[in-house]
Symmetry: C2
């Protein structure tokens, strides 16, 4: 199997090169991502042809990409072209030109293939079973009906953000008249999409720059504390708010709007209106944004995760990838995870946690020491940063933030302090949860402080005032006194009991 | 050569195990660091012997350390004991006991060896030529006169923080009478130290927990924005302030003092007074804190950086180590660095920077992409975090912070924004410097955006209103338009000229 890959995506608005590799044959990591706003689509609707100047910029861009691929010594390069080249009468001329001057062989993919790759990118990185995937690009829009993680149906329509902008004159102010015409057009186009009927009530799984920008603008508006595009979720009202707000702005106002990309200020209104119109049409309650799409889908397919072989467990897969990236001591991480689960189970009557905290417990336990990669001192703070910023998949963003806080607090007795900025996302009961789960992690971590897995079992006996913990070890004893002195106060505060520890050394099996 | 090492340091106050390894045979990284407050020294001054309970805790601790060393499969374990074991009549009994129960062979090292190892740890990680090194531990204090990076002289005195506390009853309130007696004792002891005469006016290079705590308390008091112990610097007045303040506190107040470790509240006053007394005695203007000491010295010696083979260039050595740790694309980093230096040189008459910014330019250029290790998206922000927190050596802390800001700003046109918290360390002119240096880095980065080193040379022609930059490339052209659109505005703002770029493609040599 090839170990490094470059994916060139020749879109209607921009041309991308993404480079990724299996590091040490172990874990996958994106090491480069270049975008050039070539706007191949520009003027296409007038003449039906790619314009000379756009093709020239495309050629220069692909020349650079070719050099980059050579420099990276990639095992495999995949180049695909979507709507602009697909629709243009001279699309093949462009493909031939690029082949001649750069050697890159571009495959013009049909809309349905584009939809299928969008689906692969999203479904392998977001833990969802049923949704309507929507990818609106510069020159087309794709829809995939996802049922039980499978692609049940797909369709591609031949208009995108640039077409809508040009057709309805939406660069600057969208007058009520223009918007009305836009809506009428969209309603007619969407009326012909049969799969919408079966998508009624599903969340929209959104792919592409327009939708990422809707999310980013919203995060700025509500002062959202995290800057993570992937798996950001907005309810229908929130999407409506952003789409209405931006439609009322003129170009200058949009240029100054925080969260909206420079290269997208003029072509944003038509496409964002289309997103909202889809949500209305299928009565969708929620927009779930995927940062992964076509390019990621091509990478997944290449490395064996095609439609019949989806990533089985997105969360575990991502966790392992992250542990390998940062050289985590995996046996220790698993052992600490196992012990913290035992504590959680055995102390259930005291902590009373009912909700599903399994992913947060696993994330924080497996990655509690990940910050050592940065520097040993203050590594719990570095673990906080790395858990939040490493693109972990399979968790909600709130779960990710809480996991980071649990890991951060696994080395302190103090009550959880949450900076004001994060409180827009966390409530008081979340803080109490962090407090409890970080206590279990802290005790588990001390039980394996010798890193050698000597604690074979624990048995907590809950009395009226005290929890008597019996610890079975092989070889040597745990530091019962140290654990009590480091965690005893927190235990008492959080669970209302004293903690005592007895150690029994048993023969190793 | 062995690739992984464990260093066990049996001190008077605490017992440490540090584990480090050469990862992929390439770069050194500390992967574990455990401390147990064994307090072997406790009661020693009364009987001249290590107490049974202290030895038992020491034995349990070393049993755990032995298991850890086995689990890590270390190539080499070094165990040394310092003052407590050295001074105790039953020191050898303890060493024999440990050998018997754990197999660990402890070497009792004399004070002069301890001083020499402190010296190796500090001199290989802090870029300084002349200083008086001082390491005050629990049971002894070492001094090394450093001249031109060499160890010119060394001495060890047989008292430390625990001795001073016990001898003068300083656990709780230090009454004026107690302090007076302490000072008289210190004056007499220091009067006999001949090398102090030759150390007149030198900075004190401080090693050990007491001195690290002086620094940490000071950072809390002045709201210092970084949490970095190593190479933190305080002038004589600042040291005086912390030492006077803590001497007036009772034990309860010291327990609540931010920055002072829990395990050190009772033994802090005597030792910190000794530090200040030394500064007074030699008329030292400054305390430079080294986070590296004995244990690091032993590691350096083991891996070939002994007194005759010091790390030649601490800064470069640390930079390379960091690049390897995060899989930086090294050819690209070097190329960008070279181009930014060329821009700096050629635009000298416009930017007018006189001070030495060479280390900041190198750090920010070599590490501008380091954040890709975390995640490609927003990698400049991750680079900021990693530059600040990776323990880079050979720079002042302020240079480190500015380097992080230069890297952070290499992807934006905007004026440098510095969060209020950092402004205690940076002034307005520093922000202007960051603005200029990040501009050069940004242009250099775009010139090698294709990652393939095609730009062989640049030639900037400074006219009245414009800077005409001629770029010589091989193979393909640079994206002149993209560079202008991304950096032109910033160029104009920072240097007061328009930027134009001409590209000449020359044959590859």
């Amino acid at each position: 199997m090839d170990k490094s890959i470059g994916v060139i995506d020749i879109g209607s608005n921009s041309v991308h090169l993404v480079v990724g590799e299996y590091h040490n044959n172990e874990y996958f990591h994106i090491i480069d991502d270049v975008k050039v706003n070539v706007r191949l689509c520009e003027g296409l609707s007038e003449t039906g042809c790619l314009r000379e100047d756009r093709m020239a910029l495309g050629e220069q861009t692909l020349m650079m990409f070719k050099n980059m691929c050579d420099t990276y010594k990639l095992d495999k390069v995949i180049a695909v072209a979507t709507a602009a080249v697909r629709k243009a009468k001279n699309g093949q001329v462009f493909v031939d030109l690029i082949k001649k001057t750069t050697g890159i062989e571009i495959e013009i993919i049909p809309g349905e293939t584009e939809a299928a790759m969008d689906y692969l990118g999203a479904i392998n990185t977001i833990d969802i079973r049923d949704a309507l995937l929507m990818d609106i690009g510069g020159g087309s829009v794709e829809f995939v009906l996802i049922r039980d993680r499978k692609m049940a149906d797909a369709v591609s329509l031949p208009f995108g953000s640039i077409d809508l902008t040009e057709k309805f004159g939406l660069e600057d102010v969208a007058t009520p008249g223009k918007l009305q015409k836009l809506h009428a057009f969209l309603e007619e186009a969407f009326a012909g999409v049969e799969l919408f009927e079966k998508a009624r009530g599903l969340p929209v799984l959104g792919v592409g720059g327009t939708i990422r920008n809707i999310g980013r603008i919203h995060r700025r508006v509500v002062d959202y504390p995290l800057e993570i595009a992937h798996n950001y979720r907005m309810c229908e009202d929130e999407v409506a708010k952003i789409c209405h707000m931006t439609a009322k702005m003129n170009l200058e106002e949009r240029k100054n709007l925080k969260g909206l990309s420079k290269g997208r200020t003029d072509i944003f209104v038509g496409a964002s209106q289309a997103v909202y119109k889809v949500m209305q049409t299928i009565f969708s309650p929620e927009l779930i944004i995927s940062d992964a799409g076509l390019r990621d889908g091509l990478i997944f397919k290449h490395f064996g995760n095609g439609p019949e072989d989806l990533v089985h467990n997105i969360f575990d897969n991502s966790l392992v990838n992250t542990m390998l990236n940062y050289d985590v001591n995996i046996p220790h991480a698993y052992h600490v995870y196992g012990l913290s689960v035992k504590l959680f189970e055995q102390l259930k009557s005291l902590h009373g946690i009912e909700e599903d905290v399994s992913r947060m417990m696993k994330t924080s336990a497996m990655l509690h020491d990940v910050g050592i990669k940065i520097q040993y001192s203050n590594h719990h703070e570095h673990s906080f940063y790395l858990i939040l910023n490493s693109g972990l998949e399979g968790l909600l963003q709130k779960e990710l933030l809480m996991s980071a806080f649990i890991a951060l607090n696994h080395r302190t007795n103090k009550k959880v302090k949450v900076e004001a900025e994060y409180m827009t996302l966390l409530r008081e009961e979340d803080k109490r949860l962090i407090d409890k789960l970080s206590l279990f992690l802290q005790i588990a971590e001390y039980l394996d402080r010798s890193m050698d897995g000597i604690v074979k079992d624990i048995d907590c006996d809950i009395k009226d005032d005290v929890v008597e913990m019996m610890v079975l070890t092989t070889t040597h004893s745990v530091f019962a006194d140290m654990i009590i002195s480091e965690c005893g106060k927190k235990f008492k505060r959080v669970l209302g009991r004293e903690l005592t520890i007895k150690n029994k050394v048993i023969a190793a099996v």
